[in-house]
Symmetry: D2
Subunit: 284 residues, 4 copies
């Protein structure tokens, strides 16, 4: 044989699920995108076109909808685990199931100050994330968020950096700092309430971003990660990706105008990209 | 001559402008995308490559930033008019200037219940729109919004429709109604306060969507337009475009499950598209 | 009554249709996105929620697929006309049907120099467009294309333009000219072969872009329109929209380097936007 | 200390570079998007806001443009290695530099059968990829491609799969198979010519897709990987990701019509996602 299957995975992506909770007069709304991936002993379909061990991805899609009917989809961490355990049972060749859930935001409308029972407005692009990996009897839960746009107009500097022959950037002690937060954290042990834990992390990230005296994106990223760990005891470590969405000060001097940090170009490309994993201290 | 210039227009699109109001301890943030278009006697550049009457689009971009520094950018209707009048002065060949502004949402952050002075979170994809067309001394102002996602889980039916040999749709007296509102309205006379007028129209659209007993998207669209006209005396007419973002009830019967309007597929394509212009009654 | 329906239209958008022609050993592939819109006497659904005259948009979707089976989808102009006439018959309240078709490109693969019978590669983002409006017994046909990216590295200048106090742009007699062509033309009378007419116009646009000594985007746009009219006698007029996709020369002098029109930033925002309608000369 | 920096990386993404080769009468055009990432001893900026070891991402951008001027950008594998070695020299705290390059397609225009010297049309969305990781004196080169859309109308089946209580999919021995190929491979040793090696792999992938009698996406994926290894001796292993872009047969029986594999809906969501790594056999 001239080649071999080193690794493989397959599944269904972009399964769009909306569930309405109609139990009470006030409806609940859950809007999720789900991805399922199985890994395991699927060699025969690759090498021989023998599909006897292949559960169709169409079946995975059906199962997401059916299990959403059979039980709650919130918190997504628990729905994901339920799905993962199901698929390991349904597909004997699979030894690992990975379920990735992304929750889209809807805000309840209110009219004349009173909340509406059945009407919602689409929220920001921020998504709550949950990824559950089930292997044997063990489930690993990663939670997170992405697309959370934050911007501050004060309290951000960038000075004292390394310079070389290609450096033209000026130092600044007052700039706009803007980013779209992506955060992912693993629970060392399950929190009592996934929703509350998620909110505690999110609040720590946002409040730290707002109040930190930033010497660099890295500096603020680290402070955000540290605050998240401090605010949620169950997290072992957190990964943060902070694109630096540059806001460039416009040079108005050709027109006889000063620009005291007032007029900016919001630029799309290129952008800085700062990433780190922050963990708890290691004990000897 | 074998051909002629029937119509022409040119300008700069996607000018990204962020202005920080630093006058008070609490900063203000304005995030706009601006488009400029001039129409007029620009035949020579087309037919002879003679650019003597062509103000560069690069200059238009510079001017947007400079005039944003020289005066307020809010309300966008007034900033747009200021830009339009400027360009007619700067470019004698132009007889019409069209300025289209799109305002991106940022929500002020609050920490521990108190609003932050300098920090913001990106809001939903909804944009406030203003389009100002200046011709001679006259300015026409169109306001609007787009990208406002709304969804209701009750109070929407679709029955009694026309059927032909290609009709398979079932009647329903309870479905999800979801849309992304695009609305544009012209002011017959300037309102006292553009921001208040805009909010009055937006509130009318949202509250009507939430509370209307909908027999069709058209039915709700018309009610929304009617409410907007009722809530803002200065509007002559309003145009609404309501895509029908279908949420398809999943058939769970193959799995021995009922689906009492609970589990849906949020589908992207295809989608219904319902449009109308609603005006005031004509008097004889 | 406090308001009235000034105008209305409704239909189905983003109907994705793929048709395989299996008649010969060599399969044909047609990949289209279709939009249907009806206009007419649909007041009762708006004002009273009476849907008796409303053909569901779901039926429109079904009809697109069924008529694609009953007859050819190529040329899109004729498929569109067939759809439009059908809908006017199926929906008595409609007095106008508008069908907009967009054709996606697939290129037949070849292996070892020989064309494959059944395999294709996705082509560029360019789409062929056809929009057919049927009213009574009359059909108006508009053809076009969009998303055709063109770039030339020589033969483009921009000098002698109008300057004011906000002008900082330098004159250049050698720049990159890049655009994404959008073109739409109306046939004054039907051509013998829609496909050949479309190709004749497209070839005229591309060859003129490549060879024109450009003094401005307007200058090249006009030449392209003129060539299209010259190359296709059935066209009455053509509308062209040419965004100016700026390629900015990088200033390398801080690093002791010249940049003889060699290194550029391809910028996305902002962009120039040049539009015109070119017609045939009017005779007195 | 309550937390620690487990891992970090930073850099500049989405650097858009266009280089024109003007050496000969026939210009060459290179259109790339470049990303730079450094990893290393950047703890002080995270924990103390001390930027003394931080080379600004703005400098990285400048360097990409300057080094593109100083030497060739093609093949991207060699340009990437040159950039990576430069950054390790310029930034002593960095111990690893990762450079990811994505090459956009432009096709030379021809007019009346003859190739144009200076004019190009944007090609398909396929991008050639190169990722170079430099660590100490060692450079690891990964090549690849993404966005290559392929479709076949014959020679694809899916039968004999595992069924459970949620399976409704019908077996088929003739379906459309469509995908967007993403492929990445590592060179065990440098090929003599990166461009020729890349073309050899690409040709193997495309021809195998076209001619393989497919029993499943996995089956075709494996055959594609095997052919790539056979066609390029320097590759150690190849990773393939093949989304299954479903084309759903339309049920026309309600309208009294058969559909002999002729009329399909091209669906966007959900989609199957098949991945594997194919390597050379291990020798004992």
């Amino acid at each position: 044989m001239s080649s071999r299957l080193v690794w493989n995975g397959y599944g269904k992506a972009a399964v769009r699920l909306v569930k309405v909770d109609r139990g009470a007069a006030r409806h609940g709304l859950h809007d999720l995108t789900v991805e399922v991936q199985l890994q395991g002993e699927f060699g025969p379909t690759h090498t021989d076109g023998d599909n006897a061990q292949v559960l169709p991805t169409d079946t995975m899609k059906n199962t997401v909808y059916a299990l959403a009917r059979r039980g709650p989809v919130d918190p997504p961490e628990e729905f994901g685990e339920r799905l993962g355990r199901h698929f390991l049972g349904a597909c004997p060749a699979a030894h690992r199931a990975m379920i990735a859930l992304s929750v889209h935001r809807w805000d309840r409308l209110s009219a004349a100050g009173a909340p509406e029972e059945h009407a919602f407005a689409r929220g920001s692009a921020e998504r709550r994330l949950a990824t559950v990996t089930v292997e044997g009897t063990r489930a690993e839960v990663e939670a997170g968020l992405e697309g959370l746009g934050l911007l501050k107009t004060s309290g951000s500097a960038f000075t004292g950096f390394l310079r070389d022959g290609y450096t033209t950037l000026k130092e600044t002690d007052d700039r706009i700092l803007a980013t779209d937060v992506e955060a992912r954290w693993k629970y060392a042990r399950p929190p009592r309430d996934y929703g509350m834990a998620w909110s505690a992390v999110r609040t720590a990230l946002i409040e730290t971003f707002a109040r930190h005296e930033s010497a660099s994106v890295q500096h603020t990223l680290y402070a955000m990660g540290e605050a998240a760990l401090a605010n949620c005891a169950e997290i072992g470590e957190i990964r943060l990706v902070l694109p630096n969405r540059h806001h460039l000060l416009v040079d108005l001097t050709p027109f006889g105008l000063e620009n005291p940090n007032e007029i900016f170009v919001a630029s799309g490309e290129p952008y800085g990209k700062i990433e780190a994993v922050i963990g708890r201290p290691q004990h000897p």
